[in-house]
């Protein structure tokens, strides 16, 4: 019985992390896509756009990383 509950908890953690990764996945897609559009329009701004893109990705990624930590805690 104990083993079943532990197995259930880790399975739920896996599903939870999968759900938590959806939002950041979409968000990072939007960030990177818009950065590519901006770079195509103004190639001379490439450096600034790339830095800002990485920043945006880093902030968006935070939710997925919290989900990852919760997966270990659970």
């Amino acid at each position: 019985m104990e083993g079943n509950i532990e197995g259930l908890s880790s399975a739920l953690a896996l599903i939870g992390y999968g759900l938590g990764a959806i939002g950041p996945g979409i968000g990072i897609g939007i960030v990177a896509g818009n950065a590519i559009t901006a770079m195509a329009r103004q190639p001379e701004m490439q450096g600034t756009i790339r830095t800002t893109m990485f920043l945006g990705i880093a902030f968006t990624e935070a939710l997925a990383l919290i989900g990852f930590v919760l997966f270990f805690i659970a």
Binding site: G47, T51, F54, L55, A58, E61, A62, L65, I66, F68, V69
Partner: protein, 270 residues
């Protein structure tokens, strides 16, 4: 070493991929010797090795400044220039040069530590042990909080909790989110981002390439079934290329975010 762990537990006749019973087996190593209660392992050795490599590279690269630099000098100067112009001055501004030594140190240390993952005979990224990203992110945390309090005194804390630019009704909510985000989530995500990327990479590489080696080596025993190893090898080599990019990118992102956090403490108004 990890290959041997896999081989002893892998049932090549029935499994399709070899996974160790305990994931920790891939990240924990035997103690070589103990000094004053501290266990000296492969990880400890690699940390010291990474530090020595960084110091030696920078020292040799910048020792003699000739009119016509050698190829090696150009590479090291390029790295230093990249961190100075691309990260420190670009993000922090003119006074970014003050933080260049710290940013350059963590960039090179994390870069070397990450690239250990794809170095033959070592193939273990030291940043996949949580202690190292956690320590580095705590150093960044102390720097940006101390700079924030030093520059803005207690306005740093008060304006974070009670932001003046937000309508009054929203201030408690935004303040709470800002408080948690700045003082808890920033160091946490900074450390976990590096740790998670490197751990996942090491896990994928070890499982894929380890399985490939074990299955291909077992062809005499299990016959054509051992050809399962071929797709694992192909996929593993693809991931190997990918991990080189990830190693460099994660070192860059860690340094960039450290610079951004320091900048947000210096120019606190916005």
């Amino acid at each position: 070493m990890t290959g041997m762990i896999l081989a002893s537990e892998c049932d090549v006749a029935n499994e399709v991929i070899c996974a160790p019973a305990q994931v920790n087996d891939l990240f924990e190593f035997d103690t070589w010797f103990t000094v004053g209660g501290l266990n000296f392992t492969k990880t400890t050795f690699l940390i010291l090795l990474a530090a020595v490599i960084v110091v030696v590279l920078v020292y040799l690269g910048l020792k003699d400044r000739r009119l016509v630099p050698s190829k090696f000098n150009v590479i090291i100067e390029g790295l230093v220039g990249f961190v100075r112009d691309g990260i420190a001055r670009d993000v922090i501004g003119p006074e970014g040069s003050k933080y260049l030594p710290y940013l350059l140190s963590i960039f090179l240390f994390i870069l070397v530590g990450n690239l250990f993952e794809v170095t033959p005979l070592i193939s273990f990224p030291i940043t996949s042990r949580m202690a190292i990203p956690a320590f580095l992110s705590l150093v960044t945390y102390f720097i940006f909080t101390i700079v924030g309090f030093g520059r803005n005194k207690f306005r740093y804390l008060i304006d974070t909790v009670w932001p003046k630019t937000v309508p009054v009704g929203m201030r408690p909510l935004v303040g709470l989110i800002e408080l948690v985000s700045v003082f808890v989530l920033r160091p946490l995500t900074l450390a976990v981002r590096l740790f998670a990327n490197m751990m996942a990479g090491h896990l994928m590489l070890t499982l894929l390439l380890g399985s490939a080696v074990i299955f291909l080596a077992a062809i005499p025993e299990i016959g054509a079934r051992g050809l399962i190893g071929v797709p694992w090898l192909a996929f593993g080599l693809f991931i190997f290329m990918f991990e080189i990019v990830v190693s460099i990118l994660q070192a860059y992102i860690f340094t960039l975010l450290s610079a951004v956090y320091i900048e947000s403490s210096i120019h606190f108004e916005h």
